[in-house]
């Protein structure tokens, strides 16, 4: 955890100063606790950032741009993960309800068209791939739907 604190302070001061500051705070935090340590790290980072903005505005502008870029990258990563998880869950739910499976995505997952999916009973009479929803076959419907 101290590494994160050090990394945070390194962005607003020199590496040696950041290391010694974290060391000082870690030493005092032994008696004051972890909450005090993090409050102090954030306070010190805020104060040093403000001083940097006054003393070296150009460097701080570069830092702000780096932060913005990092936000974009993190957001893109999170969005991709959420999309993949959602798509996988949708596929699982659709399959368990007998509402599609790979027939709904014939070009996206071509390898799945042959094999276990085609052995399902609904495969013979029901498909959304041809554009007509049709009626659900009685054999593939859950008991509650019949």
């Amino acid at each position: 955890m101290s590494r994160i604190a050090e990394w945070l302070l390194e962005s607003v001061t020199t590496r040696e100063r950041a290391a010694s500051t974290v060391g000082d705070l870690r030493e005092t935090a032994a008696t004051r606790g972890e909450a005090w340590f993090w409050a102090s790290v954030l306070g010190a980072a805020g104060a040093l950032l403000w001083r940097g903005m006054v003393a070296e505005p150009r460097r701080m502008l570069g830092l702000a741009f780096r932060g913005l870029l990092m936000t974009f990258v993190v957001q893109l990563g999170i969005t991709t993960i959420v999309f993949v998880i959602s798509a996988a869950r949708a596929l699982l739910v659709a399959t368990s309800m007998g509402l599609g499976g790979p027939e709904a995505f014939p070009t996206a997952v071509p390898g799945l068209r042959d094999g276990a999916w085609n052995a399902r009973p609904w495969r013979a009479s029901f498909s959304w791939a041809d554009g007509s929803p049709g009626a659900l076959p009685a054999a593939s419907c859950p008991r509650a739907w019949r």
Partner: protein
Amino acid sequence: MSETPVLSEFEQVVLFAIMRLGAYASGVTIRGEIGARTDREPAPGALYTALDRLEDQGFITSRLGDAISQRGDRAKHYVQVSATGVEAVKRAQRRCRRHPAGWHAALSRIQ
């Protein structure tokens, strides 16, 4: 107007603490010393910013000590007041002493 930067009250307090501590003045000991003298410990952010500023202005010099396991193998930053710093403190104190001049006379007039 002089070009030399004027020391703030807090910067003077920090410089006094460093001078009293001598060779062992580091972030932790300076905070402790200020706390003991003024009954109020400065926020770490305020102290480290002041130390950075004082070093940039040449009022203090710093050296890196040995890494200690208690601090997660991080070295201590020891600071010392430079000759310019001592001169700046003297100048600030002279300025402070000028303020109360004539204070007793003014007070007796008010009362």
